[in-house]
Symmetry: C2
Subunit: 386 residues, 2 copies
Amino acid sequence: MITKSNRLKEVQEYYFSRKLREVRQLKAKGKPIINIGIGSPDLDPPLSVSRAMVATIEKNHIHGYQSYQGLPELRDAITNFYLRHFDVELNPENEILPLMGSKEGIMHISMAFLNAGDEVLIPNPGYPTYTSVTNLLEATPVFYDLNDENDWFPDLEYLSKFDLSKVKLMWINYPHMPTGKNGTKALFEDLIAFAKKHDILLINDNPYSFILNDNPLSILNIKGAKEVALELNSLSKTFNMAGWRVGMLLGSAEHIKTVLQVKSNMDSGMFYGIQQGAIAALQTDDSWFNNLNTIYTKRRNIAWKIAERLDCTYDTDASGLFVWAKLPLSKDAEQVADELLYDYAVFLAPGTIFGSNGKGYIRISLCVTEDVLNEVLHRILKDKNE
Amino acid sequence: MITKSNRLKEVQEYYFSRKLREVRQLKAKGKPIINIGIGSPDLDPPLSVSRAMVATIEKNHIHGYQSYQGLPELRDAITNFYLRHFDVELNPENEILPLMGSKEGIMHISMAFLNAGDEVLIPNPGYPTYTSVTNLLEATPVFYDLNDENDWFPDLEYLSKFDLSKVKLMWINYPHMPTGKNGTKALFEDLIAFAKKHDILLINDNPYSFILNDNPLSILNIKGAKEVALELNSLSKTFNMAGWRVGMLLGSAEHIKTVLQVKSNMDSGMFYGIQQGAIAALQTDDSWFNNLNTIYTKRRNIAWKIAERLDCTYDTDASGLFVWAKLPLSKDAEQVADELLYDYAVFLAPGTIFGSNGKGYIRISLCVTEDVLNEVLHRILKDKNE
């Protein structure tokens, strides 16, 4: 009997994986389930992206191994994108590492800097992968609270009261998933000062900047940020390319080199055609973002009505692909999610998936059409009126 | 100062990475360097592969996240391929895990089964990634000797004399890189028995089966293999798709499930268009292999002449993308490689890259055209005749 590694003992099956199996079973029984639980963009990338793939795919000599650091043209396109949208200067030679999706970057960064037993500051609520990767490396997640009382910002003064000597990394994610809370320059400045004081590597996971947000911010825009901060970004949400697996890591040459030491021993460079698609995406003009957000704005209006109908409150300033809706105090998130699933055949995410501070919240995805959201609204209204 | 993790202390810069930097510098100075060092296929995939991508790439709704386990059609295509070429039956539901290249599988498998301090049997000579991944997880590489006296087969009787209680994994790789040695059913049977006796998970890394080899073998073809063995395979060499990043892991449902537990926390499913290309490749008819090997046979004839000219001997039965050439006893591999680089502007791999048992060997790649190989021969002959 060959036993699994200890690292897997802490890692549980993803809630979505378990729940989606149940959803499939219900569908198989004929239930007309609507899924507003998942944040996978349903819209298509700019046509130029697919065209770039078509233009290269039948060429000779594009099918071999690619450099771990990607094509120079891709790194140039990322440099220009960061300058244009975030006013951040990056050296395309050594401050950019293209990734096969930013998710793999979470593992690469963690492997590059964490030893077993090191502590990692992780937002509660937050993206579950920060926790599972930390557990996979037998480091220790230390959750910091985000809640509506502190406006979903970490309380750095409070955190400073604790012994932080074992903390090596801190994950932040603004615009924040699942709450949609936006970062500010002041927040980022405070975080950089905090990281410098406590010798912590700060990583801002930044895939939602361009969704329902007029003011995209990069933590690298803060003076001195590169000394202690890295940023992950992705084309998944910005250009509806989640399946293409294109992410990027940005930061100081020294940090990037350390992460590359891990990556080069684990995988290989991205397919040439995908890199060409990524370049085309990064060069898309600004009308793309306007059109995209016009669609999401219309969807969000309906999602807000759904939230209201469920007696929820919500923040109209939130960014990103979701509406984070606060239930009345008496309601339990998982119970509400189950009721919606069994009574209305609507699947959505209870806030507890993202940590204990998600208690009392549900998350509605904007990755479905207005028609689908209206159908959800219709199902709930119909029942209420009966 | 944020220090890198301890795991990186054991991982050195890849020889190729360092040497190729030198090659680039020489090229920049005008040296007409020929590279016969690298095993990245220069030939193109079947046209049906690119066509499959073109046929899907402008479709709607193919750009979102894909399942970790890949499309059912891809798993079916892999099932059929393994049945047709290896006479191995696999359950497409749970005995196949598509990967973004088989290289990432080495890390996934290692994370799934290894704890720090566990021992891993690794071939010397062998693919350097087995060692670097083992070191990255702070497990301990234990090298087993392959040499021409034991016909590049592990001496299992000798290994059994040692305390193997801490050994958790054993990497094998037949057809073997860099030597080109083929496995046999008898060898695989012995290995399975050895693995069962010592409670070791055996992984056969099998990407070279179809290159200059009339008798492709899978370790899973051996009765009872799935209890203790996994197999990695890849489209990189078989279909000239190294850049596409398509690999696969095959084995028992239980082992696959354990590896999936790691993979689902580290990356995501493969791009839809790439999966469609992979399906087309796997369905290619057998004339593909004949044509491919006709080309490699012609190249190998020239590579053999190069080896002879360098006073080397070689095994004419070898498979795979390389000629593994034994130098005269007096010659040092790295010195010969350096002489070829500096005197003839020819870059090839000294055997020592692959471990101490590569001492006294050089590796010539067949991933260049006949013209290029002839030019190498010409350069050496010219000098010899002067």
